[in-house]
Symmetry: C2
Subunit: 251 residues, 2 copies
C-alpha cells in the first residue's frame, strides 16, 4: 500500500493510495485516538471513488462516527484505464440504451464481469488497510454501495467474512440471488419505489433473498436517482449501531 | 375537555382527560416554553391509550422533540364500555381465530366499524386539545398508529387536513385503499417482512396506494409483533423533520 497524497479539512484527513494498480482514497478522523471501525464504499456505474455521493457520505461516517472510510475505483472507472473488453461491455450497454432495449440483463452481466476483478481487489485493499495501526485486523468492517456498488458488494460480502454489516440497494437481478442467500450480516437495503431503471419486484426479490436475520428495506417514493437525503443519516446510524461497540446509542 | 389527573416524571407531565365520554392522556414537556407540535397516537387492537408501545414512544416524542402527545381509548377499548355490537364483532373474530380461518377480512371489517366512531372522536379530541394555549390551533399535528391504529388513522388522516405527517403500518387491506389514495402528507410506513397476520403483498399495496410525494416504507425482517426498537428512533426523527419547523436538524 502506497500513500501518494494527503490533505485535511473539516476534521477529516484524506489520503490517496494505491494497492497494486488500484487507486483508492482513505478518509480518517483528524483527531483519532485508538482504533476505529472501517467502512468500504463502492461507487456506482460510470462514477469513481471520489464521486459526490461517496464523498458526502464518507465525510459523515468519519465526522459522525469517527470511522475510517476507504473507496477504490472499480475496474475501468475513475483513474483506471479501460481494457478492450471494458470498452466492449460499455459499447453493448450504450447500443441497448440507444435502441431503448431493456438494459437490466446487460447491467447484470456488466456487474458480474466487473465483480470478477473487483472482489479480489477489494479483498487486497482490505488486507492492506487493516495493516494500518489505526484500523487493525480485528476491527469491525462495514460495506456501503448502491447500484453498481451493490452489484459488486453482494458477491464481495458473500465471500468476505470480515464485513459485518452492509448497506445495499437500487438494484435487483436474479444473478445476485445466490450470493445474497449466503449473506447473514445485518443489511439496510434502499429501493426507489418509482425507479425507472430497476424493476420494483426485482428489488423486493433481492431484499427477500438475503439470509440475514436483521435486514431492513427502506423504500422511498421517487425515481432511480432520487434517494432522499435523510437516508445518509439512516446509513450513518445503521453503521453506528452495528460497527461501533461503544458509542452506538449517541448516533 | 376535562382534566381528571396529573402526574409528572422524567421531564414529562402526564394528564388524564375526557372529551365527552372518551378518555385520553396528554403527555407534555415539563419545561415547555411557547407552543409545540402535537402527535396523536392510536393504539392497536385489544390495547389501550397507555399500552407500553404507546407510553414508550410518547415519552420519546416529548423528551426527544419537545412535542405534546395525545392518546385516546378506541371504542370498546381500555376504560370504555363495550356495546352489544362491540361484543358481537369480537365474538366473530374469536370464532374465526379458533377455527383457524383467515381473519384479514374480519379485522378489516372490525376496523371499518371502529373507525366510524373513532374518526369523529379523534376530531373532537383534536378540537379540544388545540384549545390549550401550549398547543394552539395553528401548530403542526402528526399521527402515529400501526395495526388497528392504521385502520383508524388512514380514514382519519384522509379527512383531517390538520394532520400534516403520519406513521402507519403493519396492516394492509383493500378496504383502506380509497382513503389512502386521498392522503398526500408525508408517510412513514412500517411493514414486517415475515408477518404471520398481514399478507406481505397487501401491506406493499397499501403503501403503494398513498398519494404522498414523500413516503418511505420501512420493511423489517421478523413477525407481526417484532417491530425493531430502532423504529422508535426513526419515527421520532420523522416527526422532527416534518413537524418541528425549528429544531429538525438536531434530531
Amino acid at each position: 500500500m502506497h500513500f501518494t497524497a494527503e490533505t485535511s479539512s473539516n476534521g477529516v484527513v484524506e489520503r490517496d493510495f494505491t494497492v497494486g494498480e488500484v487507486p483508492g482514497v482513505l478518509w480518517s478522523p483528524a483527531s483519532g485516538s485508538g482504533r476505529a471501525p472501517l467502512v468500504l464504499m463502492a461507487h456506482s456505474g460510470g462514477q469513481h471513488k471520489r464521486a459526490p455521493g461517496i464523498l458526502a457520505r464518507a465525510h459523515r461516517f468519519v465526522t459522525g462516527c469517527g470511522f475510517h472510510v476507504a473507496a477504490i475505483d472499480a475496474p475501468g472507472h475513475g483513474d483506471r484505464p479501460r481494457t478492450a473488453a471494458d470498452e466492449q461491455h460499455i459499447a453493448v450497454l450504450q447500443q441497448a440504451q440507444a435502441a431503448a432495449e431493456p438494459i437490466g440483463p446487460i447491467i447484470a452481466g456488466l456487474h458480474t464481469y466487473l465483480a470478477e476483478r473487483a472482489v479480489p481487489e477489494w479483498q487486497a485493499t482490505l488486507d492492506a488497510v487493516q495493516e494500518l495501526p489505526a484500523i487493525g485486523a480485528e476491527g469491525p468492517v462495514g460495506f456501503w454501495g448502491i447500484m453498481q456498488g451493490t452489484g459488486i458488494g453482494v458477491p464481495l460480502t458473500a465471500v468476505e467474512p470480515r464485513i459485518s454489516a452492509a448497506v445495499f440497494g437500487c438494484l435487483g437481478h436474479e444473478s445476485l440471488t445466490e450470493a445474497a442467500a449466503q449473506i447473514t450480516v445485518p443489511i439496510e437495503f434502499l429501493l426507489q419505489w418509482d425507479d425507472e431503471l430497476v424493476d420494483r419486484r426485482s428489488g423486493l426479490a433481492l431484499f427477500d433473498a438475503f439470509a440475514s436475520k436483521e435486514k431492513t428495506l427502506h423504500a422511498n417514493a421517487g425515481g432511480h436517482g432520487e434517494v432522499p437525503r435523510f437516508e445518509v443519516d439512516s446509513a450513518t446510524r445503521f453503521f453506528a449501531r452495528h460497527l461501533d461497540r461503544v458509542g452506538a446509542s449517541s448516533a
